[in-house]
């Protein structure tokens, strides 16, 4: 019986430019934190081996400090870890791996597969066949050699590779670094652990993408998990179970505001946000000034609760109602200006008119509020 924890695409060192810096830092931290959770999980699940199928690092030029922290995060599991260079961290002539070795950052229980040669785990009666990337992109199938690799009879044959399984994933997604779809069978592997695809995905009975353990994009692709793989004996089919590991739920929502109840629904959505939520909100449609104020308030509150919230109110057209105007009590020419700006939202520079309208409404509102407070 061989128990494996299969993970991949840690992308350590990734930054999140689309968020505000404070949010981005926390999201970057989460990538190391999930490794710590994986170590704890491996210990808890008493697995024999942790396989990391490539893209451990997001890039080659990762700061020494980050490299040291990553390897440090593996200490929670004392058993063997096997790490494979992917396209982001290929084993180039000079790479993040060679630097890690120079820094003496790689603990003894972590095995780096920098060359395509079998790795024997005699205690486990297993032979690991890795297909490391030694260039950023290759158009040859690096797992080609697996079939010809001899292994002791009766030993587990485990493949470890990073790339795109031919003909299975959508066209245009990492079409470089191809992997034959039938590699597991063709090379008589008990299991082929794959990385590169960030969602969890089964290719066949013996071949899986584990996906990234911590989601890093809004595209909904079943990420944020690792695979536990149990193989009773060489040749038997593996039992694969999905373990949730991600802390943050990334969501992208598109909300069209047309009537007042749309605002209500949006507020419900925002009120439901928790600390683990990373939300991207695309707003459109129109609202009155009161509705705009409500949305703003709800967004401000949600921003305090959620890990990260990106919302753009700009596309929403402002349509002040009579009630709005009555509340603003815009006297004299102010009323005319409001009417002008309202109409100008449809003109060429409509965004600016809309902003000006919001600004003016804000100023008037502030005066009314201050007046009421007095």
């Amino acid at each position: 019986m061989l128990k494996i924890l299969h993970t991949a695409d840690w992308q350590i060192g990734k930054q999140y430019g689309q968020f505000e810096p404070d949010e981005a830092v926390l999201l970057a931290e989460a990538r190391i934190a999930v490794v710590e959770r994986l170590a704890a999980l491996a210990t808890e699940q008493q697995v024999d081996l942790v396989l990391v199928a490539g893209d451990v690092f997001d890039a080659q030029g990762i700061a020494d400090k980050t490299v040291l922290r990553l390897f440090n995060a593996t200490r929670g599991f004392a058993g063997p870890w096997v790490m494979l260079p992917g396209n982001h961290d290929a084993a180039l002539s000079e790479s993040v791996w060679s630097r890690a070795q120079r820094l003496a950052a790689v603990p003894d229980h972590v095995h780096l597969c920098l060359r395509p040669e079998p790795l024997h785990f005699e205690g486990l009666n297993a032979v690991l066949l890795p297909a490391p990337l030694t260039q950023r992109h290759t158009y040859a199938d690096l797992t080609e050699w697996f079939a010809a690799a001899d292994t002791p009879p009766g030993a587990f044959r485990i493949g470890l590779a990073h790339g795109a399984v031919q003909g299975v994933l959508a066209e245009g997604i990492d079409s470089a670094n191809p992997i034959a779809a039938d590699r597991a069978a063709q090379a008589r592997l008990d299991y082929l652990a794959l990385g590169d695809w960030h969602g969890c995905r089964q290719i066949d009975a013996r071949c899986w993408y584990s996906g990234t353990p911590e989601t890093d994009r809004f595209r909904n692709n079943d990420s944020g998990c690792a695979l536990r793989v149990d193989i009773d004996a060489p040749g038997t089919l593996p039992q694969v179970s999905v373990l949730q590991t991600g802390r943050y739920r990334w969501r992208s929502e598109r909300v069209l505001l047309q009537v007042a109840s749309d605002i209500d629904a949006l507020c419900v959505l925002l009120d439901g946000l928790q600390a683990g939520d990373v939300l991207q909100l695309e707003l459109a449609g129109q609202t009155d000034l009161a509705g705009l104020a409500r949305v703003r308030d709800a967004l401000a509150q949600a921003q305090g609760r959620a890990r990260a919230l990106r919302a753009d109110l700009d596309p929403v057209r402002i349509e002040p109602t009579d009630d709005d105007l009555a509340r603003l009590a815009a006297e004299g020419y102010l009323g005319e200006v409001i009417a002008d700006l309202r109409a100008a939202q449809d003109s060429a520079d409509g965004d600016t008119a809309r902003d000006a309208l919001v600004l003016l409404a804000g100023l008037l509102d502030a005066r009314r509020t201050a007046g009421e407070a007095r």
């Binding site: 997001d58 890039a59 180039l92 000079e94 790479s95 004299g332 902003d355 600004l359 003016l360 100023l363």
Partner: protein
């Protein structure tokens, strides 16, 4: 509002009650000189409305020096079509009542009611000030302030606005302006007010973006560089490993060694060829030598024959030369004889010539000798005389000094004698006969007289001696001096051998005579013998010698001449000399020709003899017994050497061909090329190894910088900064747009609000300045005035106009405000206190038209101290004296 009656009491100038009645609803003109109370009435009107009756700061309303007075004003007027009466008393017995139609107000209530209706306010404490006066402050023009419009309008703006906006049915609160100001403030935080350039936090955000973009570009460039280096490192390592396998330099070294061996072989071939070539050259030299020998033998034979020919030729030449010499011998002999003859003739001619010449010279010499002899004799005589004269002269010579001394001594003696005579004692005696006396040694007898110049002892015989001492000591001194002089004279004369001075003088005369004679004798000698007597004597003897010599020479010549028999036909010496010369030339010529012939013959003889010798020697060599054998030997040796040379040539050629095939130069280049290639291969390998090391070190250093992470972080920060910059840009655009809209709307509204005012203003402006236009600014004051002048349309602020024009503008503006107020149903009353005093006649006329027109709508109270200016106003002027009678004296 129209005032009908005004009554004051205990009010400034009017201690007694004073009343103005029956005021017209239109124009009212009040005239009066200064101090007549016009200003008091105006002040009363103002106080009635503006001051609280309870005010404690209205002491100035009291008449002078009446501190207990209670100033009182009572007004009858019409307001809102109601009859009203306001009675107000200040200070002492404060009171205020207002009857407004049926309604009655009291105290502050009455005051506030009027303030609200008329549009003014009260001071919260203290005296009322201009800022409180509102509409009346604007319409009631105080003395000399008609031109000050802006401030008054400012205090009335709110009231005017309320009137204007009420008429438009709109509300333009101050909020619009507050919002505009706030928007402008916020906009100007992001944009410069004038040039719309970013500033403040927007500018900072832009700068941050630029800085981050710059840093990002730098990091990306470094990253790109690093990636290229990684690729290069991989490539180099690949090449290094490949070459470590193939080791190309080893093959190259082996090839080089082969080429070097081949080259060595070729080089030995080369040295052999050189040896053989040297041998061939030796043989060639031998052949050359032998050929020379053989040729020498042949040459000897030829030479002998040639030399025999030369002998016969020399013989022939000698014979020819000898034949040529003979005639020249004959010719030479003849020439010698001819020359001898000519020489003899020349000799004879010369002998004759000599004889004649010597004879002539002898004659001449004899003549000269005789003359010299003669002169010599004369000279000797003269010379003898000179000698005699010299002796004589010497004998009688006396030195001039001696003569002078003698002359001096004589002169002084004479002087002494005279002085002594003068001093001397005259002794006259007459002795008896026989008696005698002796003066000194001298014996005197008879009578006589004697001067006794000195002490003299006179002996009287028988009687003794008399001692006469004349004249004291002087006489004695003179006597001594005379004695001394005489001694000296005697000594000189003795030395000269003369007796006296006269003798000396005579001798001097004689000496002079002798000298003169001597001079003559000397001249004689000199004339006869200018070069001296000795020369003359020498000449004599020379001439004598010459005569003797010539005489001696003449004798043989005479004999010789006699020998020349044919002396008569002798030609002259010159001719003889020429003939001799020609003969000598001819002889020399012949001798030379002969000499040449002889020497040619000698040369030919020598040639002939030499040729004979050489021919003999050549013959001897040919006849040498071993010669034939030696010649044969040489020919044999030559043939042998030629054969060997041919063999050697073949050998050399064979070697040269072999060498050409080996191509040693190409081999040498091969060695160089292959060695160099091997070097390069090794060097390249070393270089590559160094490059690998260098790249490794560089990449390690770059890697430690975490460039990718920094790039990602910078990109993240740049994105955030970009978002902020965009937000600020949007905000700036929105604020700018908003501010523009607010200003546009405000301007439009203002124009709409001002339209009625503009209409009224234009009405009056047309009366005052036909064709002029005026704008109205935000505070409702008249703005720039535009008039069409001679130089086109010109525009200027009202404040820039002349004082008079400003005053006029002030009045018409107020009238326009009054019209505006009236239309809005507000009460109006216009007071002009001594206004328009600065207007010229023409303008005043126009203003009268204006006022007359305005008076059809408003009550106007016009106070003036120049009633004559207003005569044509169309209303009677009421002088204060005639109009206002104190009440006590009875009124209408």
């Amino acid at each position: 509002m129209k005032i009908r009656r005004l009554r004051v009491e205990q009010f400034r100038r009017f201690r007694q009650p004073f009343e103005l009645r029956d005021l017209e609803p239109g124009l009212n003109l009040f005239a009066g000189p200064n101090e007549a109370g016009k200003s008091t009435l105006v002040a009363a009107l103002r106080a009635a409305f503006f001051e609280r009756h309870r005010s404690g700061t209205v002491d100035h309303l009291r008449p002078w020096s009446d501190p207990g007075a209670s100033p009182e004003v009572e007004l009858d007027f019409e307001l809102d079509d109601r009859d009203c009466r306001l009675n107000k008393r200040f200070l002492g017995r404060k009171r205020c009542t207002l009857q407004y139609g049926e309604r009655a107000f009291d105290g502050a209530e009455a005051e506030d009611f009027l303030a609200e209706r008329l549009g003014f306010a009260f001071a919260s404490k203290g005296a009322s000030k201009a800022e409180h006066w509102g509409i009346p402050g604007l319409l009631w023009i105080e003395q000399g302030s008609a031109q000050e419009l802006r401030e008054s309008v400012g205090h009335a703006t709110d009231h005017l606005r309320s009137v204007l906006t009420a008429s438009l049915g709109e509300i333009a609160g101050g909020e619009g302006d507050d919002i505009t100001a706030e928007v402008e403030k916020q906009r100007n935080e992001l944009l410069t007010p004038s040039s719309d350039r970013p500033r403040g936090i927007w500018l900072e955000a832009q700068q941050l973006c630029a800085r981050l973009a710059g840093e990002l570009a730098t990091v990306e460039a470094a990253l790109q560089d690093s990636r290229q280096k990684v690729d290069r490192l991989a490539q180099l390592r690949q090449q290094h490993d490949d070459e470590a396998q193939s080791r190309p330099w080893v093959a190259l070294r082996a090839q080089a060694a082969e080429a070097r061996a081949a080259l060595a072989e070729a080089q030995s071939l080369q040295s052999r060829l050189a040896g053989e070539r040297e041998s061939a050259q030796g043989l060639a030299r031998q052949v050359e030598l032998l050929r020379g020998q053989v040729a020498a033998f042949d040459a000897e034979a030829t030479d002998a024959a040639r030399r025999a020919d030369a002998v016969s030729a020399a013989q022939r030449a000698l014979d020819a030369v000898q034949a040529l010499a003979a005639p020249w011998q004959q010719r030479e002999r003849e020439a010698a004889q001819a020359h001898e003859a000519a020489r003899r003739r020349l000799q004879q001619a010369r002998s004759r010539d000599n004889l004649q010449q010597v004879s002539r010279e002898l004659d001449d010499a004899r003549r000269k000798a005789d003359a010299a002899q003669n002169a010599s004799a004369q000279v000797e005589a003269a010379q003898a005389r000179v000698l005699a004269l010299q002796a004589e002269a010497a004998a009688c010579e006396i030195r001039a000094a001696d003569l002078t001394a003698l002359r001096e001594q004589a002169k002084r003696l004479r002087e002494l004698d005279i002085r002594r005579a003068a001093l001397a004692t005259r002794l006259r005696f007459a002795l008896d006969d026989g008696r005698e006396l002796r003066i000194g040694d001298e014996v005197m007898t008879g009578s006589g007289e004697r001067l006794l110049p000195e002490a003299t002892t006179i002996t009287l015989p028988g009687h003794g001696r008399l001692r006469i001492e004349p004249g004291g000591s002087d006489a004695a001194a003179l006597a001594r001096e005379a004695t001394e002089l005489m001694d000296r004279q005697a000594s000189t004369l003795a030395r000269l051998g003369l007796a006296s001075l006269d003798a000396a003088e005579a001798r001097q005369q004689l000496h002079a005579q002798k000298l003169a004679d001597l001079k003559v004798a000397d001249a004689t000698v000199k004339a006869l013998a200018p070069r001296g007597v000795d020369a003359l004597r020498a000449e004599c003897s020379v001439l004598a010698g010459r005569v003797a010599e010539l005489t001696q020479r003449l004798d043989p010549l005479t004999v010789e001449a006699r020998g020349a028999s044919d002396a008569a036909d002798l030609s002259s010496v010159v001719e003889a000399e020429a003939a001799e010369e020609r003969a000598r030339q001819s002889l020399a010529d012949a001798a030379r020709q002969l000499g040449e012939a002889v020497s040619r013959r000698a040369a030919a003889q020598a040639v002939f003899e030499a040729a004979q010798g050489e021919a003999a020697a050549a013959r001897a060599r040919l006849d040498d017994p071993g010669r034939a054998e030696r010649q044969a030997e040489a020919q044999r040796a030559l043939a042998d050497a030629l054969a060997r040379q041919a063999v050697q040539a073949q050998r050399v050629e064979a070697l040269a061909r072999q060498l050409e095939a080996a191509r040693p130069q190409a081999l040498e280049q091969d060695v160089q090329r292959l060695d160099r290639s091997a070097d390069i291969a090794e060097k390249t390998r070393d270089q590559r190894r160094d490059d690998i090391t260098r790249l490794e070190i560089e990449l390690q250093a770059t890697g430690a910088q975490g460039l990718d992470e920094r790039q990602a972080a910078l990109a993240r920060d740049l994105a955030a900064a970009g978002r902020r910059q965009d937000q600020l840009a949007r905000r700036a655009r929105a604020l700018d747009l908003l501010l523009g809209r607010l200003r546009d709307k405000r301007r439009a509204l203002t124009q709409r609000l001002q339209a009625p005012l503009q209409t009224h203003l234009n009405h009056y402006l047309g009366l005052l300045f036909p064709g002029a236009r005026i704008a109205i600014d935000d505070s409702l004051s008249p703005g720039p005035l535009t008039r069409d002048g001679a130089g086109g349309s010109e525009s200027g602020e009202v404040e820039a106009l002349s004082f008079g024009a400003r005053e006029q503008m002030g009045v018409i503006a107020r009238l326009a405000y009054a019209d505006l107020l009236r239309e809005a149903g507000r009460p109006t009353l216009i007071i002009l206190d001594d206004a328009l005093v600065h207007s010229d006649a023409a303008r005043l006329d126009r203003m009268k038209r204006v006022l007359f027109d305005a008076a059809s709508r408003h009550q106007i109270l016009l106070f003036t101290c120049h009633p004559e200016n207003w005569r044509d106003l169309g209303v009677p002027a009421r002088t204060l004296a005639s109009t206002a009678l104190p009440i006590g004296q009875g009124g209408a």
